[in-house]
């Protein structure tokens, strides 16, 4: 290095005139898109945790019966509205493994409630891999082994019991089977339709746009309420609640797409004027490809957020419908059904644990949210 007078500076490190094109890292170049995405997704710890949590949640669904100590409609007549019981490990300073204290109910006819007294002198250890009520593993294999059960002659209500003495915890586990699955179909239908039609309207514009827009307008102007009323009278009586709900969630999906379609359309109307869309078209890309590879990725954030937002709607959609006699109902168990039962003052003020199903809903919804956000962030080119 030499600095000459008048600020002259000339770099003195040896300089070779070779274009700096080093040997490419083949592995990186060959990595398929999903691997690259996964790599950047991995960096979002919260999203990763949420993803794993959700994965586990879904994996648990088929074996919910095994994990739940009770079956969903198993009633314990002696324990109505039992408050949550805690599982302890140490009794009087000594470790004796997980155990509960027995509780006994008493009708308090002064206040018209069940009051429970806990016998803190006799710890009753939980049983593991024990026999209980029958259930079906994976919905197929009959079994009666539960991961853990209440001690003999005692109860085990981790999150309390409801009006009929059913275990809230077990019901939440079983409820997840419906709440986390059936509604997804509706979302899928609505997203598929919304994106397809919205993309068509937005990308092609002109007459297709005009036509699809009229369809959207008309669909949206048409009232849903009479439809539900008609449906609630028309559904064959002997259809199971799940079947009804299944159909409804599909109908919901079919009715729900216009909103998304309009957003997609509006965004595409603007995006299609972008230069890179022109460029792709001039390379001969067909509309389907332009939409999939160029337009949709630029609207992905919105779509992911929308999908996340439909999760609570999917879980709770039935609560509104149950006012019209269309929601899920006993003996089917879902979180919505449980919350429906909790929609009274007593559940808020006295038997607060019957409103616990809100908890898993919020947790799941937040998990989906963070997962979605992680996904969004890992698709964000500027963050890579």
């Amino acid at each position: 290095m030499s600095t000459q007078p008048t600020n002259r500076f000339v770099d003195t490190t040896p300089w070779v005139d070779t274009p700096d094109i080093s040997v490419p890292e083949r592995s990186d170049m060959d990595a398929p898109a999903w691997r690259l995405m996964w790599r950047s997704f991995r960096r979002h710890k919260l999203a990763l945790i949420c993803g794993i949590f959700l994965l586990i949640s879904y994996l648990i669904l088929p074996i919910a019966g095994f994990i739940a100590p009770y079956t969903p409609n198993e009633r314990s007549a002696d324990y109505l509205y039992a408050p949550p019981q805690s599982i302890n490990l140490w009794h009087e300073g000594a470790f004796i493994g997980p155990y509960v204290y027995p509780i006994t109910a008493e009708a308090d006819l002064e206040n018209y409630r069940w009051t429970y007294t806990t016998d803190e002198t006799t710890p009753l250890p939980l049983r593991f891999f024990c026999e209980g009520e029958d259930y079906k593993l994976f919905g197929l294999i009959p079994s009666d082994t539960h991961l853990f059960c209440a001690p003999e002659d005692a109860s085990l209500f981790l999150w309390g019991s409801d009006r009929l003495g059913r275990d809230v915890f077990s019901r939440i586990l079983y409820g997840a089977q419906l709440s986390l699955t059936v509604g997804l179909i509706g979302i899928t239908v609505s997203f598929a339709l919304g994106i397809t039609f919205g993309a068509m309207a937005g990308y092609f514009g002109g007459r297709i746009d005009w036509f699809l827009n009229r369809v959207i307008e008309i669909l949206r102007s048409l009232p849903e309420l009479p439809l539900w009323l008609a449906l609630s009278a028309a559904v064959p009586s002997n259809w199971g609640p799940v079947a009804v709900f299944f159909v409804i969630s599909i109908i919901l999906g079919i009715l729900d797409w216009p909103g998304l379609a309009r957003s997609v359309r509006a965004k595409f109307l603007s995006l299609r004027e972008e230069e890179y869309v022109k460029a792709a078209e001039m390379m001969g890309a067909k509309p389907g490809r332009v939409i999939r590879r160029h337009l949709l990725p630029n609207f992905m954030s919105h779509l992911i957020a929308s999908a996340t937002l439909s999760i609570p709607a999917m879980i709770l959609g039935e609560t509104a419908l149950s006012y019209l006699g269309l929601g899920l109902r006993a003996p089917a168990v879902s979180w919505g059904v449980m919350l429906n039962d909790a929609q009274n003052l007593a559940s808020i003020e006295i038997y607060w644990w019957t409103a616990i199903p809100m908890l898993p809903i919020i947790v799941v919804v937040l998990a989906f949210n963070f997962l979605g956000d992680g996904l969004r962030a890992s698709l964000d080119p500027y963050k890579n």
Binding site: R262, H302, V365
Partner: protein
């Protein structure tokens, strides 16, 4: 000029659509077998009340319910003369409610503006809450502000409306002396507008606005956040930054406007969606909006009442879409509604 032409064109399209919608609504209402009066007649016959039957038959003729469906439709809309000459929707005669035994116009009069009021309040609430929070959540993404906003939003979303209302009513009454249910103190009903009445309405609207608005607010906030995040790293934002703009102003002027595109597309539907979405909420919260009327009317096949309310919501929807289509062009000058390559 182009815009004006487009507006005019769009308005006529809307009228056309409205016509189609009116046909469909009429068909849907008449889809369940029977109508209010024939149900009533059957019921009266069954219970041996011949006196009512005559009265009901009289009403049937009076309201042309004995004519073929298409004729009924024309009369209802006002394209064809009914027994009393032209008196349909376009002539401003909304028909008669059999269930309430009063003219439809009279029944929905108050309810209509209360409906619009409540839902407008909810829409304002949505915007007032979602807009700043969404922008902040994006600008400060992955900080506690973002997480808190998201959490609160999802809390509102994940609570069933009625449960939320009940909780708010109960504790709102207990700790803040908020009224339970209704949209104004019953003492003010039918009373002329006065300051105490306005105050009463405002106080009563707190919980409903919140209940109806929360889900919308959360949804909008999260979507806005996502769209904003997409825009924040775009070069034009850097340019604006290089100009030395303050962050708030910068966000509002540039990326927000870009991110707003999907919302403008749906802006028109916000109000009608809330109106029809809040029907059940209104019923359970005891709001004096058209919601409860609609439900009753539909259940009892009180067709003129149901038809009018549904047409009203449809009109809101159509006007909304029209406005949103026009706003879209104003928002993004690049947008042309023409076809490919045209």
């Amino acid at each position: 000029m182009m815009f004006l032409r487009y507006a005019v064109y769009r308005f006529f399209t809307m009228l056309l659509t409205l016509l189609v919608v009116s046909v469909l609504i009429f068909v849907i209402i008449n889809l369940p077998p029977g109508d209010y009066l024939s149900n009533q007649i059957a019921e009266l016959r069954a219970t041996g009340q011949a006196e009512g039957v005559a009265k009901a038959e009289f009403l049937r003729a009076e309201y042309a319910l004995d004519r073929p469906l298409w004729e009924q439709y024309l009369i209802w809309v006002g394209f064809a003369p009914g027994p009393q000459g032209f008196s349909g929707l376009i002539q401003g005669d909304f028909g008669w409610s059999f269930e309430f035994d009063r003219p439809v116009g009279e029944i929905v009069g108050d309810a209509l503006w209360l409906t619009v009021l409540v839902n407008l309040a909810a829409v304002l609430f949505v915007y007032a809450v979602a807009l700043p929070l969404g922008v902040i959540a994006a600008a400060k993404s992955e900080t506690w502000a973002d997480y808190t906003a998201g959490f609160v939003g999802y809390l509102g979303l994940a609570t069933p409306n009625f449960l939320l209302a009940l909780i708010l009513f109960y504790y709102g009454h207990k700790y803040f002396d908020l009224p339970i249910g209704g949209l104004m103190d019953p003492a003010f009903e039918g009373a002329p507008m006065s300051w105490p009445k306005v105050k009463s309405i405002l106080v009563h609207m707190i919980v409903p606005t919140f209940v109806i608005g929360t889900s919308g607010a959360a949804a909008m906030m999260q979507r806005l956040r996502a769209n904003m995040l997409d825009e924040l790293s775009k070069p034009y934002v850097e340019t604006a930054k290089a100009k030395g703009m303050a962050p708030a102003r910068l966000l509002a002027k540039y990326p927000l406007r870009m991110a707003f595109n999907p919302f403008v597309a749906d802006i028109g539907n916000l109000l009608p969606a809330m109106v029809s979405g809040s029907v059940l909420v209104s019923v359970v919260l005891g709001l004096q909006t058209i919601g409860p009327y609609l439900l009753t009317a539909l259940k009892s096949q009180d067709q003129f009442l149901a038809g009018f309310v549904l047409m009203f919501v449809a009109l809101l929807t159509l006007i909304g879409t029209m406005i949103s289509d026009m706003l879209l062009v104003l928002l993004d000058p690049r947008i042309r509604y023409g076809g490919r390559g045209a």
